[in-house]
Amino acid sequence: GIQVEQSPPDLILQEGANSTLRCNFSDSVNNLQWFHQNPWGQLINLFYIPSGTKQNGRLSATTVATERYSLLYISSSQTTDSGVYFCAVEGTFNTDKLIFGTGTRLQVFP
């Protein structure tokens, strides 16, 4: 099956800093989503981005499907950005399940 790797595994930032999170996947995908898991365990849907670039406020994401990676950019980070960021992909062959990466744990300090 598809392998999904995220880097870095852990990231510690001071408030106001920018960061880039990476998601590599091993095969073609139909769907790619970025999620933020907050300290209460909720999975917040950030982006649905199988290809191209999208922006939402301080967050943006780019997926280069042909090179099998996606990037999540967080600018001017805030303490509320803390949590775990997951990338999840859906393969192309007769499946619609999401395969999650192991996540990037982000801690933002004031």
Binding site: G41, K97, L98, T102
Partner: protein, 113 residues
Amino acid sequence: EPEVTQTPSHQVTQMGQEVILRCVPISNHLYFYWYRQILGQKVEFLVSFYNNEISEKSEIFDDQFSVERPDGSNFTLKIRSTKLEDSAMYFCASGGDRDQPQHFGDGTRLSIL
């Protein structure tokens, strides 16, 4: 914005008991999913459901588990004879189509004692 709702938010059960986790997907969605996340680990797929039948299931989804859409709005996950290792956060998700994003509920935290 429409949401996927899950109940209960937290369930504590004795080992060996049966539990039913409930989900109300977004109303016009056709694809339904259950995932689980053991504490500190990544989210894992359990089962997908479309047109009143299971379309795909993982190795985790053995005979202990079953899913049902008993009416036009609810989607349930039943776990029979629970084990300690079933303790996890269980997420329900729904999607409008296979090329559309999956929307997740807030999860049910299941604790088996």
